[in-house]
Amino acid sequence: MSALDAWFARAARQLARRTSRRSFLARLGTLAAGAAALPLLPVARAGAVREPAPGEPDGSTPAGDPDDCAYWRYCAIDGFLASCCGGTHLSCPPGAEMSPLTWIGTCQNPVDGKHYIVSYNDCCGKNACGRCFCHRNEGDKPVYIPPKSNDIDWCMGRVGVIYNSTVAVVIGISTEKG
């Protein structure tokens, strides 16, 4: 028992020698300021979720993995998957902005067999992600039919031309393949 007492006394003296109350206060202050600043980082803002489109399958629909190129929504995508680059299949990575101009086609959901209208918006204004390249061409047309071509860099207009990655947003349901 006395050995344990002696060990604790020695440890407490060593701790007192190595640290000061002032350094504890400094570390506490850093922690408090850091915790307050955390919500200001872009990660938190990028977490904002958009309203689901009419008829859009919700997250509980067992329709595959949005991080996988074989995911049904990616049937006509050509680019880096935003979900693999710090974003999701619906939102751009932090620091990249979603181009409003886009190309739109349909993909069939294997679970319910419906043709969903998918908008492939490019994420722009940040260097190319370079991960999870996914190139599938269902319904894709040559570039001389621009509105139906996925070979085009859709980062144009308001957000600049630097391409980062691509999302696949369901915007409606079609009765036919389009």
């Binding site: 309203e51 689901p52 489109a53 009419p54 008829g55 409003p100 101009l101 886009t102 190309w103 739109i104 086609g105 349909t106 209208i117 908008s119 039919i145 509105p147 139906k148 144009m156 207009g157 308001r158 915007i171 409606g172 349901i173 079609s174 009765t175 036919e176 389009g178």
Partner: protein
Amino acid sequence: MIRCAALAAVALLAAATAHGADPRVDYMLQCQGCHLGDGSGSPGTVPDLRGSLGRFLGVPGGREYLVRVPGAAQSSLSDERLAALLDWMIREFGSAEAAAQLEPYRAEEVARWRADPYAEVQTVRRELLRRIEAGSAPSR
């Protein structure tokens, strides 16, 4: 809000089933990528459709202009569906007055006009906008 969205989806599906094709879906697949869902387009690049479609119908050459612009003329839609889509767009994005006065497009005239798409659409557009401006100026 969710109930509204669900009702809209049901209405949309019902409309699509009743008429075979739904102009709203054709708009999404053929036009929305550039003109955007609300028709606002992109300043300096893609014309804003809101309130502007009906104005073209009020001047000579305006009715055929809406068919002969490359996006309409060269779309993959049939003449009938393009006619229905143009009517829908005028009702959706035009003024209430334009919608009330709309004479629906006929497949026959759409076929004739789209066979001759504009090569210099900007020149035609400028001339039509000049006519629209001249027509709306107060007479002295």
